[in-house]
């Protein structure tokens, strides 16, 4: 086993445990903090894949913005979220079954893929992932259309939020 594999296994297990804790702990702020830990784990997995740009963006967007927003929302509604009652409803077995089936299906699909057991090719030295990503996102031959459509969608959401919050006199 190589060092990279050991790191991958450790990080993977920690991420899974944190993800499980997100849905099982009673305290909502703790759940949000476990979510932060889970997202960190995913960022480390990106780093292991040499996708350091995605890793940093993961931290900036998910931890710096989304998780903080979660925590804010939970803190501002502290009284309403008093932890009473069961944390699972009677459909928990259906959810668990669905999760297991999804995992099994994905595992089966990957098993039949030819690249599943291959070693990843080494990245040539001087390979600049950010430049490649930037070119792909802005060149007409690449993904400029989906990128722009997503931007317009986000802009529309932004305008909608401002319109809803706007105080009409």
């Amino acid at each position: 086993m190589t060092g990279e594999q050991i790191i991958f296994l450790v990080v993977g297990v920690v991420t899974l445990v944190c993800g499980l804790l997100v849905v099982t702990v009673r305290n909502l702020v703790h759940a949000a903090l476990w979510l932060v830990a889970t997202l960190f784990g995913v960022a480390i997995l990106y780093t292991l894949l040499n996708a350091s740009f995605l890793a940093v963006v993961q931290v900036v967007v998910y931890i710096g913005a989304i998780a903080i927003l979660f925590i804010f929302a939970v803190m501002l509604t502290r009284r309403q979220s008093a932890e009473t009652g069961d944390s699972v409803n009677k459909n928990w077995w259906a959810g668990a079954l669905l999760a297991v089936l999804t995992f099994a299906g994905l595992a089966f699909l990957l098993q039949s893929w030819s690249g599943f057991s291959k070693q990843a090719a080494a990245i040539p030295s001087g390979f600049d992932a950010i430049n490649q990503l930037g070119d792909a996102l802005t060149s007409p031959a690449g993904y400029v259309l989906p990128f722009e459509v997503a931007s317009v969608l986000l802009l529309a959401a932004l305008v909608g939020a401002v319109y809803l919050a706007f105080n009409k006199k």
Partner: protein, 397 residues
């Protein structure tokens, strides 16, 4: 390859050789040496941090026409060590109803978010932790960990003052991240890279001469990110006692305090890296890496001094003023500046260097002037609306 040209590599090779001689696995020895390097860097930073306490107190004393600590040792130099002993032997209190684990993790996370920044700081051309090609984004990511630590501290203390302080601090940090990131794209446009080392290597002319407005906006956003005056409304001792760290005592408070000082010093360093050439100074950095370290530490210290100068000169602003200033003024200006700079860069890239510099400075001046004019006209309209046009006309006669 001798020690004086590349001390880090020589020392690492030497240590790895020793470990391998002891019969250690080569990969394991390499990992161990890297860990030792990180450990030594953190030790050096902590020692600098202790001295920063002394520097901060001396400088604030000078700004306020006092002498500052002068009892213990020459110039009071031993004072910070005495302070540390005091912090260590203080009672470690935990408030009733506090969330113990989160409460204890928060100070560590706060210190960590500062120390992690030094992973991307190039101390000399050959001495740097990692040459990440997205160093600029890394700074913002580390800042979001700092935000998290503050919200954890504020919430887990089970104290209304700390919670309100944390809310305010997070509001400041989250909003000023936006103009900061936008403005950090300007050195990226000039140098064509987001890596710290590449930004320094490309700075044949300091970027402050190309984009003084960007340097100013970066400084303002950095001060806000640090939570220092005029943006220290999270502390607000007249209303909130001390903000998010009210309940912390002893060394846990010390972690927040030391973290803040080191953070300010670090951002002085980033300011110098982005706009003042980092470790470069008229080719002196080529002479010896040690000289390069001295240059970058000196520049970081100057940046830190400017941040202190601002802190002890201006007064605190209210939270609505802070939010309005950020979202209605600083963010639009930063975005317009990025767009104008990118456009000018595309137009003038192939022109001569003098034309390039002149064009950049002119575009900066125009952006600054137009935005100030817009703000002035809006302010005038607002005053007329509030006071009525008559009084203003009368006042002018």
């Amino acid at each position: 390859m001798n020690f004086w040209n590349d001390p880090l590599k020589v020392a690492a090779d030497w240590l790895t050789g020793i470990f391998v001689n002891w019969g250690m696995n080569e990969i394991f020895a390499h990992v161990l040496v890297v860990f030792l390097g990180i450990f030594v860097l953190i030790m050096i930073l902590m020692v600098i941090d202790i001295l920063l306490v002394w520097i901060e107190r001396k400088v604030v004393a000078r700004f306020q026409d006092r002498i500052g600590p002068n009892r213990l040792g020459p110039f009071g130099l031993i004072q910070p060590f005495a302070d540390i002993v005091k912090l260590m032997i203080k009672e470690d209190t935990t408030p009733d109803g506090a969330d113990k684990v989160v409460y204890n993790i928060a100070p560590m996370l706060s210190m960590m978010s500062v120390l992690i920044l030094w992973a991307v700081v190039p101390l000399a051309p050959v001495m740097l932790g990692v040459d990440l090609n997205m160093g600029v984004l890394f700074i913002i990511a580390a800042g979001s960990i700092g935000t998290l630590s503050i919200i954890m501290a504020g919430w887990s203390s089970n104290n209304k003052f700390s919670t309100i302080g944390a809310f305010r601090q997070v509001a400041v940090m989250v909003s000023f991240e936006v103009p900061m990131l936008a403005v950090m794209l300007i050195p990226t446009i000039f140098s064509g890279s987001m890596g710290m080392n590449a930004i320094i290597q490309h700075q044949n002319i300091w970027y402050i001469f190309l984009s003084p407005l960007a340097a100013l906006i970066f400084l303002i956003a950095a001060i806000a990110e640090l939570g220092r005056a005029p943006f220290d409304l999270a502390e607000g001792e007249s209303e909130l006692v001390a903000g998010f760290n009210v309940e912390y005592s002893g060394m846990k408070f010390g972690m927040f305090y030391a973290g803040e000082l080191l953070h300010a010093f670090t951002f002085g360093g980033f300011w110098s890296i982005m706009f003042f050439g980092g470790y470069r100074f008229f080719g002196l950095e080529q002479v010896s890496p040690f000289l390069a370290i001295a240059i970058i530490l000196f520049k970081a210290m100057v940046g830190y001094w400017v941040i202190m100068w601002v802190k002890y000169t201006v007064m605190r602003i209210r939270i609505d003023q802070m939010l309005a200033f950020n979202w209605k003024f600083l963010t639009p200006v930063a975005f317009v500046l990025v767009m104008v700079t990118a456009l000018m860069n595309a137009l003038l890239r192939d022109a001569g260097s003098w034309l390039y510099i002149t064009g950049m400075i002119l575009s900066n001046i125009i952006v600054a002037w137009v935005s100030l004019e817009i703000v002035r006209s809006i302010g005038k309209k607002e005053r007329e609306r509030v006071e009525g046009p008559k009084q203003i006309a009368e006042a002018h006669h």
